[in-house]
């Protein structure tokens, strides 16, 4: 047997302070009412740091700082100068990527190979990409500039953006929010998730290191109440939220009837569709990547596997064999494939829905794996014999749990894939190009991957249909959410 010896990434590359204040107007400050909460390492339940909890007065202070910075510094600044700051931030992120990756894995529980090879390269790429747009906004297709003879105005920033992000990709979601907002000339107040605030606070230090003018980026930490105070604040021009559909609905209600513009990126229950002519070995990799990447804490995860009946057994056998190779454990070990579940609350939800799946008659299977005693862990799991009527086929589990269904014809695959209130992503596996196009035309999902899954690129727009939200992030389309067009 080839036993891999432990290969832990050193955590000494990152210095975690014992406590963190709020980042307002370019400095770390104590919260007005002095409330704090703790951020823990989900792989060990060890406390990493005490974090300030922002109350309404703190949020107000942050919004005012952002407003002032927008009116006096960032809004009037020429695009090419804004770009210089964004390029500088991008380069510092690259230089400090190891530090950021280790911190992300500590606070979030994701394996270091993902934070190092996926999250951090994408974070830097987003800043580089949008830095490039900062001085080219009139040519992004929203203003009149490219067509001569018209005298339309160039697109203007919206002003001050309130941004609330989730815990599954803490730094990457920060980049998706902050990079386009700043490139377009807006200032921001961002609230990271309460279980994963640390990389956002390290990002605040990077803003200081880059000499970003005070108030352009403000970070307020806290839970749901802080987020509510932020999105409901009168001084906010734009709200951007990524998270659950339930909270997204509440935010949509809160901003209804105001001048605030809103983009929402919410849940998903994506179908990953495998046809009988699929490249089987790569399809199995894609299925595994689709649902077990980031412990399945991915809004666009391929959580419903639709296999054509004629290849159901061989594909399932290959999938099980591949799952037996997955290494669950210490997120900082460079050979770990599946890390810790982010929080006790999330683990409870995954357990509850899995129990419902078994109780409703689906057959549950996990490869043999030993889970650590402390921390929050869930073995990679598949359910077979699932039908459209099962709750595990309808509700977002947001964990390493895959529901396996079958279909006979392409039309049936489309019908089942679309039979969900969500519509964020979908995957198609077939060697037939014409079928990919036929399917992509009919799938109601914001992203359709063909013979791959969970591929992200800053140049490519990302967003949902139906209850998966509205608006697009990434690419030229992502600028629209931050411009008055």
């Amino acid at each position: 047997m080839f036993e891999y010896a432990p290969a832990p990434e050193s955590r000494s590359v990152v210095e975690i302070r014992s406590s963190y204040g709020l980042f307002i107007n370019g400095e770390f400050v104590d919260p007005g009412d002095g409330g704090t909460f703790k951020s823990i390492n989900p792989a060990s339940e060890e406390v990493l740091a005490e974090i300030a909890e922002a109350g309404p007065a703190d949020v107000d202070r942050a919004v005012r700082a952002a407003r002032t910075a927008y009116e006096q510094v960032w809004g009037p600044m020429p695009g090419r100068d804004r770009a210089k700051y964004l390029y500088r931030i991008a380069r510092i992120i690259q230089e400090r990527s190891r530090e950021l990756a280790v911190l992300e894995s500590l606070d979030n529980g994701k394996p270091i190979k993902e934070s190092r090879d996926v999250d951090l390269p994408l974070v830097a790429a987003h800043f580089f990409y949008y830095a490039g747009w900062a001085d080219k906004l009139p040519y992004a297709g929203f203003g009149q500039r490219p067509t001569s003879g018209h005298s339309g105005a160039d697109p203007r920033p919206l002003g001050m953006a309130a941004q609330v992000i989730p815990w599954n990709f803490p730094l990457l979601m920060l980049a998706w929010k902050i990079a386009p907002a700043l490139a377009a000339g807006n200032t921001v107040v961002l609230k990271p998730a309460e279980t994963t605030p640390l990389t956002a606070l390290l990002f605040a230090e990077i803003c200081q290191q880059a000499d970003l003018p005070p108030g352009v980026v403000n970070i307020v930490t806290g839970a749901g109440e802080t987020g509510r105070a932020l999105v409901e604040h009168d001084g906010v021009d734009k709200v951007a939220f990524t998270g659950s559909t339930e909270v997204g609905r509440a935010i949509a209600r809160a901003v209804a009837g105001t001048r605030k513009k809103l983009t929402l990126e919410l849940g998903g229950k994506a179908a990953n569709i495998v046809f009988d002519d699929a490249p089987v070995d790569q399809a199995v990799e894609g299925i595994v990547n689709g649902i077990f990447f980031n412990q399945g804490h991915v809004c666009c995860a391929g959580s419903r596997l639709l296999i054509q009946e004629s290849v159901y057994e061989p594909v399932l056998a290959s999938l099980k064999r591949r799952m037996a190779q997955l290494r669950v454990g210490d997120p900082l070990d460079k050979n770990t494939d599946i890390g810790a579940i982010n929080s006790a609350a999330q683990l409870d939800r995954i357990r509850e829905l899995s129990e419902v799946g078994a109780a409703e008659g689906a057959e549950r299977w996990s490869p043999e794996c030993t889970l650590p005693e402390r921390g929050f862990w869930f073995a990679p799991t598949i359910f077979t014999g699932v039908t459209q009527a099962h709750r595990i086929a309808r509700e977002e589990i947001f964990g390493p749990v895959l529901s396996v269904l079958t279909f006979r014809t392409p039309a049936e695959a489309v019908e089942k894939a679309n039979n969900t209130p969500y519509g964020l992503s979908a995957g198609i596996w077939t060697e037939k190009g014409s079928r990919i196009l036929w399917m992509a035309d009919r799938l109601r999902a914001g992203v359709v991957w063909a013979n791959t899954f969970n591929k992200f690129d800053p140049t490519s727009p990302f967003g949902g249909y139906k209850e998966s939200g509205y608006g697009r992030e990434g690419g030229r389309h992502g600028l629209e959410a931050y411009l008055n067009v």
Binding site: F2, Y4, D117, P279, Q282, V315, S318, T452
Partner: protein, 329 residues
């Protein structure tokens, strides 16, 4: 093809009967998505193998080396020296294992055989008009018989890539069958000598697509190959991780289908311990421990051995020795 249970095992021996059945079968294999295969191979390359795992992997890799010299300038003296090294790769450390085999041209087999006789190091000879394979079949089989008669117990043959690329699968199949028959020592006039193992070189650098690599792998296995090997080392592109991955998937699926296990040998371009360990990780996570054995996985290499020895010494002594401490051949 994918995992099936023992009871589903199929008899594929009739497939070679006609061009049509071979073609239908080979073209019915699932495709290989290039992007996905390369991505998977790259991911496996990021495994971090340290300390005890590294020591274990280095010793295994040494045992899997087919220590090779295939030059027009080869002399009996060089081949004797190489064979001596195969037996005792690190004269300073008796705990160092010997390599899997020595691999030479047919004319050099007698000199290697002198040195290796009585040891468990195998003696491989390339044959069949290596490396191009551009010779009449009668010449190829004569080449093979001569190597076996001279003492080779492993034959590394090349397929006719031209015939394969032109879709003449039956021709390639029949050649392998003929060469396999020529590997039989008894038939070569050596009563009691064992049948030489047949390694079939696909020369993947000339096959252009992973789909072709998969088809050629199956074709060779159907025709009776004991091992499938990537390359001759004589064309610009030799073994690569994705090509080896596709071949490992093929031997895995072939065993699931027929019950017969076939070995894999990446050859050419593997020069460092780091590279060798990446291949072992790939074997471990694609086909499992059954193939982590010199009987089922080999490295065709010449310079790799010295790097393995240097890393081995580094692990046991804690310091790097200069290259002067390792023998050059």
């Amino acid at each position: 093809m994918t995992a099936t249970t023992t009871s589903d095992r199929s008899d594929l021996s009739e497939l070679g009967r006609s061009e049509a059945t071979l073609r239908a079968f080979l073209h019915g294999l699932p495709g290989v998505d290039q992007v996905g295969a390369e991505q998977r191979a790259a991911q496996l390359g990021t495994r971090s193998i340290k300390t005890t795992a590294k020591a274990w992997a280095i010793d295994l890799a040494i045992r899997m080396v087919d220590l090779t010299t295939l030059e027009g300038a080869d002399t009996p003296g060089k081949v004797r020296a190489l064979s001596a090294k195969a037996l005792r790769p690190d004269p300073a450390d008796p705990s160092c294992p010997h390599v899997g085999a020595v691999c030479v041209y047919p004319s050099m087999v007698p000199y290697a055989a002198e040195v290796l006789r009585g040891s468990t190091v195998h003696l491989a000879s390339v044959a069949t008009a290596f490396p191009s394979g551009q010779a009449p079949l009668a010449v190829k089989t004569a080449d093979t018989r001569a190597a076996v008669a001279a003492g080779a117990d492993e034959i590394d043959m090349v397929i006719s890539r031209g015939a394969f690329l032109a879709g003449r699968y039956k021709e390639v199949f029949d050649e392998i069958v003929e060469v396999k028959a020529a590997c039989d020592g008894a038939a070569a006039g050596l009563p009691g000598s064992p049948r030489a193992h047949l390694k079939v070189i696909l020369e993947t650098g000339e096959l252009a697509t992973y789909d072709n690599v998969r088809r050629a792998s199956w074709l060779a296995m159907l025709a009776g190959a004991d091992f499938i090997k990537t390359s001759t080392g004589k064309v610009p592109v030799a073994a690569t991780p994705p090509v080896t991955l596709v071949m490992l998937e093929a031997v895995r699926d072939f065993r699931d289908t027929t019950g017969r296990q076939v070995g894999v040998k990446p050859a050419g371009g593997i020069r460092t311990t780091k590279d060798a360990i990446k291949y072992l990780v790939m074997v471990n996570e694609t086909v499992g421990p059954d193939w982590l054995d010199p009987d089922w996985f080999r490295f065709g290499a010449s310079t790799l051995l010295n790097d393995l020895l240097m890393q081995r010494t580094k692990l046991t002594t804690g310091t790097y020795s200069g290259p002067d401490y390792f023998t050059l051949d």
